[in-house]
Structure formats: structure tokens, C-alpha cells
């Protein structure tokens, strides 16, 4: 999958498909722009007229109400017209059908597609086949990427820690099934995080993990020792095939983030989670609702980040 597909000839962002291959300059531009959008939600009219007259289609081939809602709110705060389409993946088993759907919607004068699909590469396929003026955003494709989640995580870290250059960051949990983890690793590496750790049981790590430039830990206590940021992942129950883990109770015992274990991290460490959380499985309620948790601010920042990407794409 070519990173160039995402960029215009002048190097500006054309589609957002994956954080892999995006230069730091573009990531920083998105984060800076998102900071500007944060104040929109403080206005009495929580809306700016930037994308007036643009039609944005939420194409969800895989159900995800939360993600769809955040994109919908972002588009509405930019004054775009939003259409939500939940298309069952079963009726879309062939690539040709997917492109037919897109061609039909393009004929309705769509300006942007937000694509969520269970197959890796679906957003890329659409981006390769749409008319010149149409922009595509990946809202999650299989195990491959979830770039806006990665970006909102970067925004959250920068917001609380001021930057990336002195940080020790641990990504904890189901790395194998997580498209979020890949996006996070790509972005943190590009933005210059000097020590990135992945902390997971062997069965939940991809084979190629060592090649990603990260430090691998197989015990939670060691992995989060003295870190500035703990990025929890959701235990992907619905993706789990076969017996990779004994039971949720067993997982909690060894891998659940409890207040006691969190004390091993730096005292001012922040705890992040992409949601939805499995309380009592990967994270203890006392941590999720605790002083160091920034899980709800992540949701708020997610809107601003999605507004930023939409307006940058629409303007380039």
C-alpha cells in the first residue's frame, strides 16, 4: 500500500488512510490545527462554517456506533452535510460491489468518504478509485490501521506532556488484534518518542513486533516501570479466535492495570484507553476513573482531531 496515495504532488495531505509513511510535518500540522478546533466547543454556537455545502458520507461496513458518532459530530461542527450509511459486510464480500457502492454515492456529489471496514485496505481501495476531488478517511480497516485514533492519542500525549522527545511510553495489551496499536507505533516513532515499549503476553504480539523498533516486555510490572504514559488497549474479545488466553479473570490477574501496578509508573504518568473499556479485565475501575486517567479527555480531543483532518483534506 503506497503512502503516496495519501499525498498530493505538493506533499500536502490528500487522503488519510494510515499514519504509516506520513511525515512528522503533516502529523504536527494536524495536531496544531486540532488545538485550534478545541475552542469551538466553548462557543455558544458549537459550529464553524468551514465545510458548508460539503457532503460527507460515513460508510460503515462494520458496525461501530461510537466511532461513527465522533465523525458525525466532527463533520456537523464544521457545518458539512453528513449522511450515515451502515452497510452490512456480508452483502459486500466482493471488491467490485464495494466500488459500485462508492460510485453510486459519488454520483450523489459526495465530497468525502469516511470508511470503516473489517478488511485491511478497504479505504485504500476506495481512495484509488474515486474521482479527483473526493477525499477519503480511514475510520478503521481490519487489523491494519485506525489513523484518527492514533492521532487523537498523539494529541492527548502532547496536551499533557508538552511533546514526545523525553518520554517513555508503554502500549499495553492485545497488540496482535489491534489496529490502534499499529497506528500508535507509527506515529510515536515519527514524532520522536525515544523509548517505546509494547507490553503483552506472547500470544497477543504479532510475529514482526521486534522489527517495529519497540522494546518488548512480557510482564506488566516491568513494562510500565517509570513510564510517562500508559496506553492501554482493549482486549478484543470479539476478534479473539481460539484459546489465546485462559479466561478474562486470569488476564486481569496478570495484565489488568490496578492502582498498585500503576504506582510503578512515574507519579505523574497518564493512563489512556481507546474505549470501550472492559472494566475488571484490562483495566481496574479505580484506575479508569482515577486521577491519572485521561480517557474521557481523549474522547473530547477525538472530535477536534477529526475536525482538523476533515478541514485539511477538504482544503488541499
Amino acid at each position: 500500500m503506497s503512502a503516496n496515495l495519501q499525498l498530493n504532488d505538493d506533499g500536502s495531505l490528500r487522503h488519510l488512510l494510515s499514519l504509516d509513511g506520513l511525515p512528522a510535518r503533516i502529523l504536527t500540522q494536524i495536531l496544531d490545527t486540532a488545538a485550534g478546533f478545541l475552542s469551538v466547543s466553548e462557543q455558544e454556537v458549537k459550529k464553524v462554517p468551514l465545510l458548508r455545502g460539503k457532503a460527507i458520507f460515513n460508510l460503515f461496513f462494520e458496525p461501530s456506533t461510537r466511532t461513527r458518532t465522533t465523525f458525525e459530530i466532527a463533520a456537523k461542527r464544521l457545518s458539512a452535510d453528513v449522511v450515515n450509511l451502515n452497510i452490512g459486510a456480508s452483502s459486500q464480500s466482493k471488491g467490485e460491489t464495494l466500488l459500485d457502492t462508492v460510485a453510486n454515492l459519488s454520483a450523489m456529489h459526495a465530497d468525502m468518504f469516511i470508511v470503516r471496514h473489517s478488511s485491511a485496505g478497504a479505504a485504500h481501495l476506495i481512495a484509488r478509485n474515486v474521482a479527483d476531488h473526493i477525499r477519503v478517511m480511514n475510520a478503521g480497516d481490519g487489523r491494519h490501521a485506525h489513523p484518527t485514533q492514533g492521532l487523537l492519542d498523539m494529541f492527548t500525549i502532547r496536551h499533557y506532556k508538552g511533546g514526545f522527545h523525553n518520554l517513555r511510553i508503554a502500549i499495553v495489551g492485545d497488540i496482535l488484534h489491534s489496529r490502534v496499536a499499529r497506528s500508535q507505533i507509527n506515529a510515536l516513532t515519527t514524532l520522536g518518542c525515544p523509548e517505546l515499549r509494547v507490553v503483552a503476553p506472547k500470544t497477543l504480539l504479532p510475529h514482526d513486533v521486534e522489527g517495529m523498533g519497540v522494546h518488548v516486555y512480557h510482564r506488566l510490572e516491568e513494562g510500565i516501570k517509570d513510564v510517562d504514559v500508559v496506553m492501554m488497549l482493549r482486549l478484543q474479545n470479539e476478534r479473539m479466535q481460539g484459546a489465546l488466553l485462559p479466561s478474562p479473570q486470569e488476564y486481569y490477574k496478570y495484565w489488568g492495570l490496578t492502582p498498585e501496578k500503576l504506582r510503578l509508573a512515574k507519579p505523574d504518568a497518564i493512563v489512556m484507553h481507546p474505549g470501550p473499556m472492559n472494566r475488571g479485565v484490562e483495566i481496574d475501575s479505580d484506575v479508569a476513573d482515577g486521577r491519572q486517567s485521561v480517557i474521557l479527555p481523549q474522547v473530547t480531543f477525538g472530535i477536534a482531531v477529526r475536525m482538523a483532518v476533515m478541514s485539511i483534506l477538504a482544503g488541499n
Binding site: 496544531d32 490545527t33 485550534g36
Partner: protein
């Protein structure tokens, strides 16, 4: 034509504005030059009136032609604008499009009682029916010339003039 120093013009503006201030006033600067002028004015006026800043990037009328402005700063209006008398402040008034955008944005924060406009330099060339209430200096300048306010490393303000940047 030589422009007076920005500090001189800020003094002039402050003298014009001072008699019109009431306790329900608030100052709002437009990023970035307008915010510098507002900060300097607030010091001259020695007032504790609320101050805010606007970045009008999301309200510009040229988004469809040139896209999003590359540097966006957060807007910050930490007071209730409803029923307030707002003094909108910018460095250089030219086409009036920035002021149009700023007024649209202000109305998304609430319904102010009045909005008045103070600019350091009025260089003419208006494309919209907008006229400043207070102006430090009226500059005659050709359309292909630009003038803008800069902040030096020591914190002092200065003007930059030259051929238009394309």
C-alpha cells in the same frame, strides 16, 4: 511615506478609546497582530476589562480557494459576550474580510450589545462596507504593497513594508 512607530500609534489609539470605555466593555484581538495591539492597549488603558483573542481561520471566505490557513491558533473568549460592548482590535485594516469573519465568529459566542473596531493602521482598499471606529494612522499605499506588524525578539513591535507576497 514613513509610518510612525507602533508604540506612538498605540498611544494615539488609547487616547481615542479611553473616554468611550465603560465597565461592560471587553477587548478582543484578532490573531496575531491584533492580539499584540490589544495587549499593548490594555496596558496603556490600565484597565482590568476582560480580554479575548480570535483566530478567524475557520471563518475565512477563501477556504475553497486556498484551503486551511497553515497556522491556526486557538481562539480564547473566556467571558460571556452576551450584552457586552466589544472592542474588536486588529493591526492593519485592508479589504475588511478579516473583520467580517471576526464578527461572524463573535456572534457564535453570543449576542454582544455593540461591536466597535479599532485598528492601528487603516490602509484603505476596502472590499466590504466596513469602517473603523478608531484608527491610529491612515496610510496611503499602492495595492501591490503590503504592510504588516511584526514582533521583534525583544518583544517590541515594528512595521514591515514591501512588495506584495504572492
Amino acid at each position: 511615506m514613513t509610518l510612525p512607530k507602533p508604540t506612538e500609534l498605540i498611544d494615539r489609539l488609547a487616547e481615542q478609546i479611553r473616554p468611550t470605555l465603560t465597565p461592560d466593555c471587553a477587548l478582543v484581538g484578532i490573531h496575531t497582530g491584533g492580539v499584540w495591539v490589544m495587549e499593548a492597549l490594555a496596558r496603556r488603558l490600565d484597565s482590568d476589562l476582560p480580554c479575548g483573542s480570535l483566530d478567524i481561520a475557520f471563518y475565512r471566505d477563501d477556504f475553497s480557494r486556498i484551503g486551511l490557513h497553515p497556522i491556526v491558533k486557538p481562539s480564547q473568549i473566556d467571558f460571556d459576550t452576551e450584552g457586552r460592548r466589544l472592542l474588536l482590535i486588529d493591526d492593519v485594516l485592508y479589504t475588511g474580510r478579516t473583520v467580517r469573519a471576526a464578527m461572524n465568529q463573535l456572534f457564535d459566542y453570543g449576542r454582544p450589545a455593540t461591536i466597535r473596531l479599532a485598528v492601528l493602521v487603516d490602509r484603505g482598499g476596502r472590499e466590504l462596507p466596513i469602517c473603523p471606529d478608531f484608527s491610529g494612522y491612515k496610510l496611503e499605499i499602492a495595492d501591490d504593497q503590503h504592510v504588516s506588524l511584526v514582533k521583534h525578539d525583544d518583544g517590541s513591535l515594528g512595521f514591515v513594508r514591501g512588495a506584495n507576497r504572492i
